[in-house]
């Protein structure tokens, strides 16, 4: 699907004509990311991050397959095999650091990608399906990253595995059997490490599959844009190739500069030093924290202590442990409902003064605070801050957004993308 003015694929040579009549794969590519896909002309650099996320996935798959050629999934040998990769395998140190930091950069670009969508209303009709598939990809990414972090079998690997499989033991009745099924035993051991290796290999290909659906869904309505105004005419668009392939290529260059700078000069900046200690099932490190990209959700989990009061509102079955786990998963699952919580017909936050205030002065500081508290030890002051931030997170999406979208008076929208770009004065700008 595309706009009627999209350029048509015309095979020139004999070979391409022959192929096009039998398997029109070049035609598909031409219409997907070539000149056959018209894109709004006013996309800013926030629209680069989808492509960057795709590149990050490719980096992870390529370096991951290479690492699996040298890694040994055994509780006795895993840690040493990673050191073997670092010291003995040709360029092994580079490939291992690229994979390790690649995960962080994958999450950096995906978080910016998500916040782009949140600000510009990219989740709104007719793009709900793109958003739902995106949240699914995010969940799969987190599962994949978790299982990957377990593989070196350091202290953080082991205790991360213990804690995260422990989430499932909070479920009433079936929880503990479910946890033992996930682990294949009573505690993380050989069985757990072995299966996490297998699943860590599988999941990126599942992610790649869902990404195909994500991009397919995107190509039905076409890209959103910073004004949130729909495309009205050919003037509003430019062909994807060469205009956005070039722009994305430039963005990719900048991204890679940051990526290799960290990989070469500060490869352990984003990691935790305790994961250079081999796993010890008898001792938990005093300061155990997850990887930085899980910190906000970890803070929400930790915010639910019995002292907090919510558990004993009559239903005693919901203990603090279960509440924390439900809240943590709920904080992501509620994103699935976002397109129906924000009912404002105006897409872009740019034209929504009240929404914009809550976004910049509510949601963003709240997420930063959660990330910060997630990395702090569970002392009273950090727990209280986490509780405030976690409460705001849920209130923002479940109460503030629905109310704001009802009471807000949006600013006048431009009549078209072209009008917004060419800078003609808007008719009602004085208001």
């Amino acid at each position: 699907m595309s706009f009627p003015w999209a350029q048509e694929y015309k095979p020139q040579g004999t070979v391409s004509k022959w192929v096009d009549e039998r398997l029109p794969l070049p035609r598909l590519v031409y219409n997907a990311v070539g000149a056959g896909y018209p894109v709004p002309r006013n996309l800013n650099y926030f629209w680069n991050f989808g492509v960057l996320a795709g590149v990050a996935l490719v980096i992870q798959i390529v370096t991951g397959i290479i690492l699996a050629m040298h890694y040994y999934a055994s509780v006795d040998g895993a840690f040493n095999s990673v050191e073997h990769i670092m010291r003995d395998v040709n360029s092994g140190w580079f490939i291992r650091y690229a994979h390790m930091n690649g995960a962080s950069f994958f999450f950096i670009v995906v978080y910016i990608h998500i916040f782009r969508g949140l600000f510009y209303g990219s989740y709104k009709a007719p793009r709900e399906m793109i958003w739902l598939l995106g949240v699914t990809i995010f969940l799969l990414m987190m599962a994949t990253a978790f299982m990957g972090y377990v593989l070196p079998w350091g202290q953080m690997s082991f205790w991360g595995a213990q804690v995260i499989t422990g989430f499932f033991s909070a479920i009433p009745v079936v929880g503990e059997p479910l946890r033992q099924w996930l682990l294949g035993g009573f505690a993380p051991d050989q069985a757990a490490l072995n299966r996490f290796f297998s699943l860590h290999y599988l999941m990126p290909f599942v992610i790649a599959g869902v990404i195909i659906l994500h991009v397919w869904a995107l190509h039905i309505p076409g890209s959103s844009n910073p004004t949130g105004v729909s495309v009205k005419s050919e003037q509003d668009t430019v062909p994807f190739h060469p205009y956005y392939t070039a722009k994305d290529g430039f963005g990719l260059g900048i991204f890679l500069i940051f990526f290799v700078a960290v990989t070469f000069f500060a490869p352990n900046m984003l990691g935790h030093p305790d994961n250079y200690i081999p796993a010890n099932p008898l001792s938990t490190p005093a300061h155990i924290v997850p990887e930085w990209y899980f910190l906000p959700f970890y803070a929400i989990l930790k915010a639910f202590t019995v002292d907090f009061g919510i558990p004993f509102t009559g239903i005693i079955i919901i203990e603090a442990k279960l509440m924390g786990v439900l809240a943590m998963f709920g904080s992501i699952l509620l994103l699935f409902f976002l397109p129906w919580l924000d009912t404002s017909p105006v897409r872009s936050g740019h034209y929504r003064p009240l929404f914009r205030k809550f976004f910049w002065f509510g949601l963003i500081p709240c997420i930063i605070l959660l990330t910060y508290c997630g990395g702090k030890p569970p002392y009273t002051q950090w727990v209280i801050l986490s509780q405030i931030a976690a409460a705001y997170y849920f209130i923002h999406f479940l109460i503030i957004l629905p109310i704001v979208s009802r009471i807000e008076r949006p600013l006048p929208l431009p009549n078209s993308i072209t009008e917004a770009v060419t800078g003609k004065p808007l008719e009602k700008a004085a208001a």
Binding site: Q180, F304, V306
Partner: protein, 219 residues
Amino acid sequence: MSTVKKTKTTGKKPVKAPKASAAKAGKAAISNTAAENPSVADNGQTPGVRRRDFIHIATVSFAGVGAAAVAMPLVSQMSASADVLALASIEVDVAAIQPGQSIKTSWRKQPVFIRNLTPAEVEEANKVDVGALRDPQTLADRTKPGKENWLITLGVCTHLGCVPLGAAAGEVKGEYGGYFCPCHGSHYDTAARIRKGPAPTNLVVPEFAFISDTVVKIG
């Protein structure tokens, strides 16, 4: 759907007809007449319900059972394997543990704390109002008669499974002088009962017995 309702109101046996055919809107008129004439419906030979419909349902059901039978081993392979389930009990010599000292040992791949409580710790544990605890248990409930100073628990926080601090010398014992879990800040008292933080229950006391004055068997 109307077929089922009408059959019920007339108090006759439910028609054995597959639901699929009843749901077909096109057959509604015929089905109605069948319901008004139960003798026809009972032998399942109404024009709306063919013997072939039964074959369809039987075939799909059989395939469903087959798929479930195949899925079962694919799922159950992940449960604990025979070598993991081959659980042994362990015997621990506790003669060298002085009051106020504790050791960590490993049982079923999980840490076990064996602690020789000081008289002060025993007194403090007995002083607590048991009814006010989140998981009410006395020290006597958690130890063996005559051996109240021997506190043997799994070193697994009941929240998400970290090993609490406090067993080794110099570690933080938390606000209640027992154990403190660094992962999410659960505090346990001198009888290893949960007092503060997100953990739902006391540290688990495994099955154990003194087989002599100085040797304890766990498991």
